[in-house]
Symmetry: C2
Subunit: 409 residues, 2 copies
């Protein structure tokens, strides 16, 4: 008998029929003798509907009130799934984030989980119940409702698996595993049977859309066995995210290619080059709780420096406004920006032992006349920022040149 | 400066534009120097949408899970209204039922309020904020979400007004006050400037639809000054619900006529007439938390008795099922029922001092060939149960015969 945490996303619970399907799947799993804790998202479309209502009333909705509104989406799903399970004879009980309690910090709309109380859930499991928990939400020290940000339900699931010391955390999505790249862009993309946490971390953070980065980080930190599976097909193995590189496996240099369109580039030019400038620019942005991704500093003309970085597109206007204020303080000559960019990344543990991977990437893009605006590298990935319109072309040619079109060895 | 609790129903907050209207109205009220606590319902249609989802998943949705789902409706509205107020420069903060905390018993879907903690609200009012509270919901001793039943937001508003010792509790509805009867049925119906609690209690309990009965009870018990107003027109006086009959006012015998279609009649025939039978029949129904309204017991044939009572239509099937079990135990010869009935009532403090009111009612109905199935009376009302199809006819002829078509003296 195993204790399994399963997470079903918005598409999987997007209608009455789909909720019934999920209930049947959980019932079958429980009938095999497993204890099951289920984390669910809002029904697909619901979060967007709520955001639209909020934005119609306040240009930048108050974060505390936004969380009050957004948290209702998952709350509806947990109640409905509990009913669907009870209807087929499976005892089930729902919990909101504050009922569990999933304690978070107070960073509304992007809160971080601090602790989870597993007592009530354990008692329910002991009593033979399926426990259903609202993903994406928690409660802060003030008693205010918080949400974890888009995709936060994955993080909820992994955090619950860690708190409960579950045997496996299964993330059900509308894909049947992690692919070498987005199959909608490259039809030759293949499912990976396993992938390491390090690679997954890079792929998730770069927007492969299968798993939220914080969920992967959390799983890595607490050694949660994590599996990505299809909620549409039954019996699939999905992709297991492993802690260790499989030494026996002859790996290709590159495991996968990710692209992330949720990027906007901001350029600060002609900044007097003196210590503390980077902090003056990025500190103000960080204080506004805006995540900065790629950062590049270059020598500019006559003792000045040019500073570029990327932020999520949703925070782009806010970041620009902050920089307009900062511009005068630091004496920058110009602030410009571009929201029409994409970050394309190649990721693979094999890059450690294969030379020339980066140069192959740059050559391949050059042959297609794709201009590279920014480059950043780590031990197991190379990312380039390019014009958004080249997303598909760049991903396709890189998928081919790194041998990902061919079956896994 | 006064402390006012205002309650806006689902129609008043049914769209972005209507929420903005409510926000402007609150802002104007606050600008006059008042402290304002606002109670809101779910956006119109939302509760029905959620009920439909639940009933698609479970024929009789689990009450605890139903409350989890239903409570989201009001939670969305409080967040949105807070945003709308902030957007026009009015500081505002929302509270769910559990955040206030509105403590209730554990009778899911029809819980009763036990206590309210006013500390956080008072601090917010002190800080100049408008406080927005989700109506209809609370939390029980187990930490489970509860709801108060349809129309429960009125009760929430009155309970908050009592807890805060507010100067007035204003219920905004889609009518501009309490009418002598439903104007959609009788165009000659007139608005009452004031009505006593006793009369209002009878009118509300009989389905005049303006105010929930428990709200009126609560207001009477805690001496909350209650006013019903239109949320659509500004500047109206509405109807004030007074504690004392105005001695100077020459009152008509009947203040208003109510009809309630949420009735189903159940008939238990041929019950052996011995002590404890009423309890055996009604006890089982009450244990299932079904409200019984009219009750009549009559002598039947040969030492048996006939027993009739009415229940809300939504509980009708459940009550019938219970009685089928009970039938054998008590040896009743027959259980039959009719869900196509309406209760029509005349209400008025003046009935105390006017004789012949009841007989005028019965004569008027007889003249229209309307058969009376059940009769019940109290000091200030007479109710009859008749075939539902006569609702409009009965109400119209009674409105005329009791002089309600003419302007108030």
């Amino acid at each position: 008998m195993a204790l399994i945490v399963q997470k079903y996303g918005g598409t999987s619970v997007g209608s009455v029929e789909r909720i019934q399907n999920v209930a049947r799947r959980i019932a079958a799993f429980k009938a095999q003798g497993n204890d099951v804790v289920v984390v669910v998202s809002a029904m697909s479309g619901e979060t967007n509907r709520l955001v639209a209502l909020a934005e119609a009333l306040q240009e930048t909705p108050d974060p505390r009130e936004m969380d009050v509104v957004l948290a209702t989406g998952e709350q509806v799903t947990i109640g409905l799934l509990a009913m669907a399970l009870q209807n087929i004879g499976v005892p089930a009980k729902s919990y909101t984030g504050w009922q569990v309690a999933v304690k978070t910090d107070s960073a509304h709309t992007k809160a971080r989980i601090e602790s989870i109380d597993d007592a009530a859930m354990r008692a329910d499991l002991q009593a033979g119940k399926v426990v259903i928990v609202a993903g994406f939400q928690g409660i802060d020290a003030r008693g205010d409702i918080t949400t974890l940000g888009r995709g936060g339900s994955d993080t909820s699931a992994v955090a619950l698996a860690a708190a409960l010391k579950a045997d496996e955390c299964q993330i059900y999505t509308d894909v049947d595993g992690v692919y070498t790249t987005d199959p909608r862009v490259v039809p030759e993309a293949r499912r990976l049977e396993r992938i390491t946490f390090e690679e997954m971390l890079e792929l998730a953070s770069l927007g492969s859309k299968v798993l939220q980065i914080r969920a992967v980080e959390f799983a890595g930190k607490y050694h949660v066995r994590l599996r990505v599976l299809s909620s549409l097909e039954e019996g699939g193995e999905g992709t297991l995210i492993t802690f260790e590189e499989d030494g026996n496996m002859e790996r290709a240099a590159v495991a996968g290619i990710a692209f992330d369109k949720n990027q906007a580039r901001i350029n600060v030019r002609g900044v007097p080059d003196k210590p503390g400038i980077a902090y003056q620019i990025l500190g103000a942005v960080a204080d506004a709780n805006i995540e900065v991704d790629m950062i590049i500093q270059n020598i500019g003309a006559e003792g000045t420096t040019d500073f570029s970085f990327t932020v999520p597109r949703g925070d782009y206007r806010k970041a620009l406004k902050i920089l307009e204020d900062v511009q005068h303080n630091i004496g920058a000559s110009e602030v410009n920006s571009d929201a029409g960019v994409v970050k394309v990344s190649i990721v693979g543990l094999g890059m450690r032992s294969h030379v020339g991977v980066a140069s192959t990437m740059f050559r391949t893009l050059a042959e297609e006349n794709i201009n590279i605006q920014m480059i950043s590298t780590s031990e197991i990935k190379v990312s380039v920022l390019i014009d958004e319109k080249y997303t598909e072309l760049a991903t396709r040619v890189l998928h081919t040149v790194f041998g990902l079109d061919k079956p896994q060895a």
